[in-house]
């Protein structure tokens, strides 16, 4: 086919890679993170201490693990509000398994497995029955946590074995906790999955335009189903970590996590309308939220006041580029 029209030579890229990196969302987030880091180190003498920095990571790792999968889900144009409820249900099931004498490997399998099942249930309702994910997951949010309440009522499960507790409290090396290592490993996995594989490329395509993606031979429903399963799976993993860290299970565990995970994702530059976002951004956003809550915590600022800061940051970071563009258009 080479004998016809030798058209113009099209270059691969024209944008200056340096310039586009500098102007990206991620660099904005790096700036914010650095600024908060510097602020924290000046504001509190206790901040720059290896144990402090290590403890800081516990404030966000569980939510951030969920945020990784949630990022993919939101990029594909769906959302899952039931993640915190999945944590509760998975934790309850682990507690139940413990009552029947399960040991640590079984407990972990139960937690992760229940998470996966819940995700698959959401995925089935959304892709199989073609229902909007936001209302489906508002429903399953009540359902999953409701089952925990039915099972546990006013009781709690406790006395998890020490080997299980290690998942939430153990250190792999020096001040590096197991939770942090797990988060970093998953961050790399999700980075590769989203940015370096066919699967990730299709996720972006679906989020940009799922009709055109389907017309391009992408199996849209199958991929969305997998994304719901992944989100459930990560919630199951977060449930193992949180349960191990708390050493007990109550049905109200992890209340409000869903909105924090979504805030992380959105702050990380993922478009809530789908189609755009990066794992690096989400990881940075998780770090920023950890830095803010821990830094202000060191100053004994109540958590609720920190949330003003997070909410304000969210809106500002999103509004700034828009305002900048409007200002430039007018000029």
């Amino acid at each position: 086919m080479s004998d016809v029209t030798t058209g113009r030579q099209l270059p691969n890229r024209l944008d200056n890679p340096l310039k586009s990196t500098l102007l990206s969302w991620e660099s904005l987030l790096v700036l914010v993170a650095v600024a908060i880091f510097i602020f924290n180190s000046n504001a509190s003498p206790y901040f720059l201490n290896e144990w402090s920095l290590s403890d800081l990571t516990f404030n966000f790792t569980e939510k951030a693990l969920i945020a990784l999968a949630m990022a993919l889900l939101i990029i594909s144009g769906e959302i899952d509000l039931s993640v915190a409820a999945i944590i509760a249900l998975a934790s309850t099931m682990m507690g139940l398994a413990l009552q029947y004498g399960a040991d640590t490997p079984v407990l972990v399998a139960v937690g992760v497995g229940v998470g996966l099942l819940c995700g698959a249930f959401n995925g089935f309702l959304v892709t199989g029955l073609k229902l909007p994910s936001i209302v489906v997951t508002i429903g399953t949010m009540s359902l999953f946590r409701g089952i925990s309440y039915i099972i546990l009522g006013d009781k709690s499960f406790g006395n998890y074995p020490a080997s299980f507790g290690w998942f939430g409290q153990g250190y792999v090396w020096w001040v590096i906790s197991f939770e942090l290592v797990l988060f970093l490993v998953f961050a790399v996995i999700y980075f590769v999955l989203l940015h370096r594989t066919n699967f990730g490329r299709r996720v972006f395509a679906i989020g940009n335009n799922d009709v055109a993606a389907q017309f391009s031979g992408v199996r849209v429903d199958r991929i969305k189903f997998i994304l719901f399963c992944l989100t459930g799976l990560m919630s199951g993993i977060a449930s193992v970590l949180l349960t191990a860290r708390l050493g007990s299970t109550r049905p109200s565990i992890a209340e409000g996590f869903e909105l924090e995970a979504i805030t992380m994702v959105v702050l990380g530059g993922v478009s809530i309308l789908g189609g755009a976002g990066s794992i690096v951004g989400v990881v940075l956003a998780a770090l920023i939220m950890g830095l803010v809550t821990f830094g202000l915590g060191l100053l004994n600022v109540p958590g609720i006041v920190m949330s003003i800061f997070i909410g304000g940051l969210l809106i500002t970071v999103i509004a700034l580029p828009i305002l900048f563009r409007m200002w430039r258009q007018r000029a």
């Binding site: 509190s44 206790y46 901040f47 201490n49 144990w51 402090s52 403890d55 800081l56 516990f58 404030n59 009522g153 006013d154 009781k155 709690s156 406790g158 507790g165 939430g168 409290q169 949180l242 860290r245 708390l246 050493g247 007990s248 109550r250 109200s252 565990i253 992890a254 209340e255 409000g256 809550t293 821990f294 915590g297 060191l298 004994n300 109540p302 958590g303 609720i304």
Partner: protein, 305 residues
Amino acid sequence: QTRIALVVKSLGNGFFDAANKGAQEAAKELGDVEVIYTGPTAATAEAQIEVINSLIAQQVDAIAISANDPDALVPALQKAMQRGIKVISFDSGVAEAGRQIHLNPSDTNLIGETIIKLAADYLPEGGDVAILSAASTATNQNAWIEAAKAVLPEKFPNINLVATVYGDDDSVKSTDEAKGLIASYPNLKAIIAPTTVGVVAAAQVVTDQNLIGKINVTGLALPSEFKQFIDNGASQAVALWNPIDLGYSAIYLANDLIKGEEAKPGAVFSIGRVGEITLDDTNSAPMAAPFQFDKSNIEEFSKIY
């Protein structure tokens, strides 16, 4: 300077604000002590753990905590103790592994008996009563309810405890639960709420539904918050210990530990103007008997706490 953190179940709760008053008073008396009054805004264990983590990082000398969950806080508090921080629990306790001393506001059995007695005193013929508690995981409330149930058969044979429900120290949930009790038990004579949030909610429901005189609300209440319900007759009498003394004693105890005194069964600690206490074999110590408020004295105490 010594820094002692007073970690409460949730900020804004009048009971703990009063405890903080006592804590500040103790700090002033002790001289070189700084009290950090902190806690989450939502009464959950996860939020308290974040607070504990930041206190560990600040290398405070001691933590005195009223726990939202006796078990879930243990790992975090153990970490604090490993890093050389003294840990006591007050008001609502932490499981033994997670603290050195627990300061009971009063003797558990005594509180259990008092809350029933408060209802029984105004029910000479006996009748149905129900308990509206705080969170189902609250250590202190659960212990009191157990104790109350234990004394019922012998001491108050004609009092019939029909139900125990949980309002989670959330005014809406407590209101709903109180309504549910009234609807389900038409012969209910008294609601016993051993929690300052629940007791207000229950009294408001009784007032709203015009059941004053039919249902007596009682339990543990802060006089300043509860005065109007004694005034309007929704409640005959309530009881409480002095939260100021509780906070005051917690700081003294923590300070003693910092000074090197050892927490072991039988040890005796002196706690300033309150006197001294002795640890039992679970390293916990009760303070004074609960104090009763009724029409005669509520006016006076509502000005104090």
